[in-house]
Every structure is written in structure tokens, then in C-alpha cells.
Assembly symmetry: C2
Homo-oligomer: 210 residues x 2
Amino acid sequence: MEGSTPRGRTRIQKEKREVILEAALEVFSTNGFRGSTIDQIAEAAGMSKPNLLYYFRRKEDIHETLMHRLLETWLAPLKELDNIGDPMTELRSYIRRKLEMARDFPRESRLFANEILQGAPRIMAMLEGELKTLVDEKVEVIKGWMRSGKVAQADPWHLIFAIWATTQHYADFDVQVRAVLGPDRGGEGRFEDAARFLEQLFVEGLRPKG
Amino acid sequence: MEGSTPRGRTRIQKEKREVILEAALEVFSTNGFRGSTIDQIAEAAGMSKPNLLYYFRRKEDIHETLMHRLLETWLAPLKELDNIGDPMTELRSYIRRKLEMARDFPRESRLFANEILQGAPRIMAMLEGELKTLVDEKVEVIKGWMRSGKVAQADPWHLIFAIWATTQHYADFDVQVRAVLGPDRGGEGRFEDAARFLEQLFVEGLRPKG
DNA sequence: CTAACGTTTGTCCAATCGGTCAAAAAATTG
DNA sequence: CAATTTTTTGACCGATTGGACAAACGTTAG
């Protein structure tokens, strides 16, 4: 090996790096970056600390790799929002996709939330760059819908925020949601209930007048 | 002094404890419990670490005191929601109050978010007890409104979640909101815009049909 | 002034932190 | 098989962590 950190050349390296990233996702998403230790991740990954550091030389490298992957997944649903179909159908399926992500990738959502809560020190450039550009673009799409009368007039930026907030809430605040709903209402069905409610809220809330 | 930790008897004790809590709120809300150090809090409070530990014997004690205070403030707006006035007016002012709290007490909101994100280890009992009871009670109020036809039929639990999510978003994800809105739209006016949007969303989204 | 009490600090400690390193063990290659 | 390379581990390091403690300092009442 000529380099310093193995670059996933061998089969073992690819596999072990995945195991580590999976374990790190679990640990980082519940404890945040500073609150997580390499030992915790190593234990969750079923290996010794020096062994883990053989695959990722620094704690930051793990977090960075995780973040890079996350952001790709995270922006995908918004990227799909486009002018092709019926506006309200597009919005409804965007909400549905975001809610499915909250259901299927809650740890990713919490990892992201942790980063933002801490002031986004590691992804600020991406927020002001790639994310802002993408949102600006989609805001124009939504403005077009509103001009054409297919969607009620409203602030498109805050519409996007509201969709993000309501859907990610079911991942980030999952513990609270389940505690409040109780054992009976708090089962897996809560996502169906949430989907129905949010569809109603946004569809009726954005139905064009007259 | 007969006890171990001073109990705010003297003037200095009351003052210094407040200074510490103020500093700890700042530190805990951005770094989480595990990610914060006593040294950080002591420095933010302008005193030495042993001096801080004279007023709060353990790091956990500071966090616990902060949490207890927070929860009282936090539940107040929901407690005020009652049957007296017009339903939609009640809902609108609840949303407004929650948004004002996100604007005026963002650190408290982030402290709470951090705790929930980490699985709410310290306040789980309160979530399943006091909070659930309160929400159950308010759900009945909202159900009454829906039965009387003043508010559209919808899931009251998820309505409450949606209000929590959309309003607290402006505190917890403030960095992202400001980054996406950019320098011009991201000023203090963003709360006015958010208030207008959310009022429209919930009022129209919950307007009874026919 | 002095005794008693409240406050502050410097020093210290054991535990834990992120990370290194050399050597052992395992896998791969010829 | 032996030689080489990759993987794993135990021991270790300096820095930081939460916290203890006694001594020093400040304040106040008699």
C-alpha cells in the first residue's frame, strides 16, 4: 500500500468501511459529532479502535464521508420536483417522498439535524451554495404555478420550509411523537396518519381561491 | 453553610447561578450535553471552573435546572389553548405564540431539540406523562371544534405536531433558513413572512368545507 | 479587631479522549 | 510452500475531561 489511508481497493476494505459507516451513522446521529467517541463507533462496528483507525485515519474523516453521502440522498427529492406534471400532484408526491425518507432514513435525518443545530460548521458552504441555488430554482417553479393559478399565492420559500419541517419532524422528534401518541396510536401506522394529515393540510392550504 | 450546594440564599448566589445558567444555555444549546464542557460554560460565565462547581456541583445539575425551567416555558402556550374564544382565532394565536417563542427563545428551542434528538434520556418520563396528558386534553378541545364544524375534520395529534414542527423550525434550523433565504430575504423580516405563510397554510388548510 | 461565614482560586486526580506505533496475525501472491 | 502484503491488536502517549480539595481571599457581625 503506497498511500496512507486504504482507499477501498480490496474487498475487505470496502466491506469494513461500510460496517464502520453504518456504526458511525448510528452513533453520530444520536450523540452528535462532539458527543460521539471513536471507541463507541468501534464497539458498534465490532472492532478495536486502532483497527477502525486503520480504515479512517481521523474521526472527522468518518463524519465527512457520512455527510457527503447523506447530502446526495437528501437533495434528491427536491431535485425531482419539476414542471412536468400537475402542480398539486407534484407537491403531494414531494411531501410523500420526504415523509418516506423520514420513515426509512431517520438516522440520516437526525445526523443532518444535529449538524444544523450545531450551526452547520461543516456544511455551511454547501447550504449557501448548492442548497440555496437548488431552492432558488424550485422557488421559481413554484412561483410559475402560482402565477398560472394552479396553486394559491403564498411565500414559496416558507412553503418549502414548512414541508421540510413537518416531514422531518417524524424522524428528528420521533421519540416525542411516539411518547405523545402513546402505545396504541404510536405504532407504524403513525406515518400513514401523518401522510393523510399533511396531504390535507397542504392541498387545502394551497388550493387556489375562486 | 449546612448543606452541600448553596441554595440561592444570598444575593451573590442568586446572581451567579443566573449567570451560569445563562452561559450554560448558550453552550448546551449549540453543543448538546455531551458535547459541552464545564470549562466552556465557566469561560462563558466569566469564572473559573472550580468557582462554577461551587454553585452547581455537577454538570448534570446545571442541565437539569435548565431543563426544568425550559419545560415550564415550553408548555405554557399549549396550556393557554382553550375553548373560550373562536376556534380558528385560538389556533391562529397559538401558532403566533409558538413562532414568537422560536424568535425570542431560539436557544431554549435548540436545547429542547438536542435533548429529543438524543432520545430524550432525561425527560422521557415528562414526555410520556405531563406532555402526553396535556396533548390528550387539547386534542379533545380540537375534536370538539371539528365536531361543531368550526374546524375541518383532520387528525388533531398531527395538527399539533405540524404546528410544533413549522414554528420550531425557525429556531432549530435557523442557520439553514438564513442560508437559503440569503442576505436580503433572511433578515428579521423572515419571521413576519413565516407568520403570514403559516397563518394562511393552517387557516385555509383547516377551513371547514361547505 | 476578630471570629465566622461566604466566595474564589490553584493544584491535583483518575478517567477518558483522539490518535500513534510496532509487532503479531491473517490473507494473498508467486 | 515461502515471501509479501494487508489486517488486527496491545501498549502507549499527550491532551482534555469532570470533579475534589484545601488554602486563600472577601465580607460581615459582634
